[in-house]
């Protein structure tokens, strides 16, 4: 493996790891607020217990999110110093604002976690809001940086290749920001909702069909089910945006080599760069033109319009993209079935098939997030800043990346294993305590 490959692999795996905890970090405050709000309104202890339990688990996932995010802040400089040297003075503003958002998150998380008995119920509940908004804000700022990498603006490159006329505001509010932000934000909320629902569906499959599990499942499913249709709308918007701003990326996502009038949508199949065709795959006539331009006969540019050295990896990008849209569409089902069952067939909600579906929805949502990001990031290759700075030119001149890649991969595996182990133990201890003392006291412990 070359040093550059090692660096790309390290960056990619660090981000793929971080995004899992980032997603939970964005969504969990919403779920907590709902549970705690229901507790304040109804006074029913089951909601209190849910909020307590989730906040304890959140302490662990947030810590992993914080340390893995810190790794990213360092890595982005250690691995791509010439990128940061170039970009820091243009897109640094959202990064520094993000610093403040992290402070707000960290502060209110501490107050939320350690403040259950130091604040009145209402004050404690209110402290959940800055936590939620802090997560929304930090997502906004980090996405601003990333969307700028996709649609860079707010500066001029002079003849000597130097950056002049920097406009940090224009850089931050770049054309991809809105669609990328909304798509990411809803992805995080939906994924957290499915995760919560999946945990309790699993418990119910194991025979724990008490009120606590039913309510936990209902809150998670409600969040995911309500927001999922919105997520598909934002998905459509982001696809249109990419068509406009990064047509080569779109062609790669779709595995479209030739410029085509009335282009079909090709699902799956293996794009072959040699023959410039897609092997296998399911073709749906006119659908691509329709989705990209709202016109079934519109002409969609193929990859052939660009020199081959500017192509991203078509196999990776096409398969990642198709995985996201396939699983993403399937994720509408739990919400629809859940809604129908809730109105008409309540016993379905307890059915094993439905519960298994929910259990599967959590990994499916995470796979959507990961493959969506692979689409975005690998689809931007070979550029780190689209059509401005190549990835290989932003790479560090320091050597010895490979051993560190191995070390940090080990650290991630360790974090993942220990983190899950501790969460599982936590759940088991809660059940043991519950069995010993009864629900009312267990909530406080």
């Amino acid at each position: 493996m070359s040093e550059l490959m090692a660096a790309r692999a390290q960056m990619g795996s660090s981000l793929a790891f971080h995004i899992i905890f980032a997603v939970i970090g964005i969504g969990m405050p919403l779920v907590l607020l709902i549970a705690e709000g229901l507790w304040l309104r109804t006074g029913r202890d089951v909601y209190h217990q849910l909020a307590r339990t989730w906040s304890r688990a959140f302490a662990v996932t947030f810590a992993i999110g914080a340390v893995s995010g810190t790794m990213l802040s360092f890595e982005i400089g250690l691995l791509w110093p010439r990128f940061m040297e170039f970009a820091g003075g243009i897109i640094g503003m959202p990064f520094s604002l993000e610093g403040f958002a992290f402070f707000i998150e960290g502060i209110f998380l501490a107050i939320y976690l350690y403040g259950w008995d130091r604040l009145s119920r209402r004050a404690h509940f209110l402290c959940g809001f800055p936590l939620l908004l802090g997560g929304f804000a930090s997502t906004f700022f980090i996405i601003a940086a990333n969307s700028w990498m996709n649609t860079p603006q707010g500066f001029v490159l002079n003849a000597a290749g130097e950056v002049v006329d920097v406009d940090p505001i224009a850089a931050m509010f770049n054309p991809a920001l809105f669609t990328q932000y909304t798509h990411m934000l809803f992805a995080a909320l939906v994924t957290t909702g499915f995760t919560v629902a999946a945990v309790y569906a699993w418990g119910m499959l194991k025979g724990r069909r008490d009120e606590y599990h039913r309510k936990g499942l209902a809150i998670g499913l409600a969040v995911a089910g309500i927001l999922m249709p919105i997520q598909l709308v934002t998905g459509d918007l982001i696809a249109v945006q990419v068509t406009k701003n990064q047509p080569l990326k779109l062609a790669t996502m779709e595995g479209l080599f030739q410029t085509t009038e009335g282009a079909p949508l090709t699902l799956f199949g293996i794009p072959d760069e040699e023959t410039r065709t897609v092997r296998g795959g399911i073709e749906i006539p006119y659908l691509l033109s329709l989705l990209a331009y709202n016109d079934p006969t519109a002409t969609v540019q193929g990859m052939e319009e660009w020199p081959e050295e500017d192509w991203p990896n078509p196999v990776l990008v096409h398969l990642a993209y198709d995985t996201m849209i396939t699983l993403g569409s399937a994720l509408l089902l739990p919400g629809i079935v859940g809604l129908y069952a809730w109105r008409r067939r309540p016993h379905w909600l307890q059915h094993r098939l439905f519960l298994w579906g929910l259990v599967a929805s959590a990994p499916a949502a995470f796979i959507c997030v990961e493959t969506g990001w692979i689409t975005t990031e690998s689809g931007r290759q070979p550029w780190v800043v689209y059509e401005v700075l190549r990835t290989e030119d932003s790479f560090t001149t320091a050597t010895g990346i490979l051993p560190w890649f191995v070390v940090f991969s080990g650290v991630y595996i360790l974090l993942a294993v220990l983190g899950s182990m501790i969460l599982i133990r936590m759940a088991r201890r809660r059940r043991e305590r519950l069995a010993a003392v009864g629900p009312a006291e267990a909530a406080g412990g």
Binding site: R56, I64, A66, I90, F95, F103, I111, L418
Partner: protein
């Protein structure tokens, strides 16, 4: 605003971030060091006191290093690139230490009921608390010694042999001692009874070691970091060096006389005097002696926007920080305890 004023303000904001990190996270790292060296009959109590002191605040304290990093690459992108390339190796150790420290601490706090696992996590926590400040101090020493040099368009990576020279090694040790001293001082102020006496002894011992090492550092600097030592002994850094001397002696004297109310503020002032002395001697160079802050800075338009963001962010941040510390460090010794037990 003149461009040079913008640069100065941005550099000062960096110093504010570094100071907050040194004092707040420094004490957390020091707590880890004392966890490692917990000893005597009250060993378990010492560890518990440390855990209580760090528990609610370490995540927020740790954000200061992220703040420092983002300020560096927003306001001084060229210096950021130079540091990342030049100090690739020690910075990677910093990173490893930060990650292991934070996660081991959080995991340990939430794995009650599994003593064997907790013991192992405690070891990771405390050893990484030692590594991180050491590697950071080493980086500061290497920069002061002028070890980062340009190479063509870019920068040279500092070879290991140069990192392991006496001066950077000593600055690494100094950083560890500063953290340990701060932690012992804070814990003395927060603890009571026999536990307080334990931490008082530790504070006195590290205070003395710190004084010796600082003096030794000055001697080594004359040879290995000449620009730095001149600035510190004859120039801009002198007032800070003198202040550090006075505050250091005062801190030890107050500790010896058990003036509990004063040990914490004087200890903090002492550490800040050292840090600011170092910063004053560093100025105007971001990378001694080849890159000034002025030359490393982003465009004035960026600096202006950045400073506005800083002010706006500060308005939101300061009240929130105040709330946090009032809730969990509210002055009385048991502040952290009840909350800790309830989580």
């Amino acid at each position: 605003m003149a461009d040079s004023t913008l640069v100065l303000l941005a550099a000062l904001s960096l110093l504010v971030g570094l100071s907050a990190y040194a004092v707040l996270a420094g004490a957390d790292f020091g707590g880890g060091v004392w966890d490692l060296f917990a000893s005597g009959p009250r060993r378990a109590d010492q560890r518990a006191a440390i855990e209580r002191a760090i528990g609610p605040v370490w995540e927020v304290n740790h954000v200061w290093i992220i703040f420092v990093i983002v300020v560096l690459f927003t306001a001084f992108p060229r210096a950021f690139a130079a540091l990342c390339i030049g100090l690739f190796m020690p910075l990677t150790f910093v990173l490893l230490g930060i990650v292991l420290r934070g996660s081991a601490f959080a995991f340990r706090a939430h794995s009650e009921g599994s003593p064997a696992l907790q013991r192992r996590l405690g070891l990771v926590f405390s050893v990484s608390s030692l590594i991180t400040p050491f590697a950071l101090g080493l980086c500061a020493g290497a920069v002061a010694a002028g070890a980062i040099r340009p190479a063509g368009e870019g920068w040279q990576t500092v070879p290991v042999s140069e990192l392991l020279r006496p001066f950077p090694l000593l600055t690494g040790l100094l950083a560890v001692l500063i953290c340990s001293y701060l932690a012992a001082t804070f814990l003395t102020a927060e603890a009571t009874g026999a536990l307080r006496a334990d931490f008082r002894r530790r504070a006195l011992a590290t205070g003395a070691a710190l004084a010796v090492c600082a003096a030794l550092g000055l001697v080594l600097a004359v040879d290995e970091a000449p620009e730095h030592s001149t600035a510190l002994l004859e120039g801009r850094g002198l007032p800070f060096a003198l202040a550090a001397l006075v505050l250091g002696i005062a801190g030890i004297a107050l500790m010896a006389r058990r003036a509990w109310r004063w040990v914490r503020p004087v200890g903090v002032a002492f550490v800040l005097a050292i840090l600011w002395g170092w910063a004053a001697a560093q100025w105007p160079y971001a990378i001694t002696p080849v890159l000034t802050f002025e030359a490393a800075a982003a465009s004035p338009a960026m600096l202006r926007v950045y400073l506005v963001c800083l002010a706006a962010g500060g308005v939101i941040l300061l009240p929130a920080l105040w709330l946090l510390f009032r809730l969990f460090k509210g002055g009385h010794p048991e502040a952290g305890r009840r909350a800790e037990e309830r989580v």
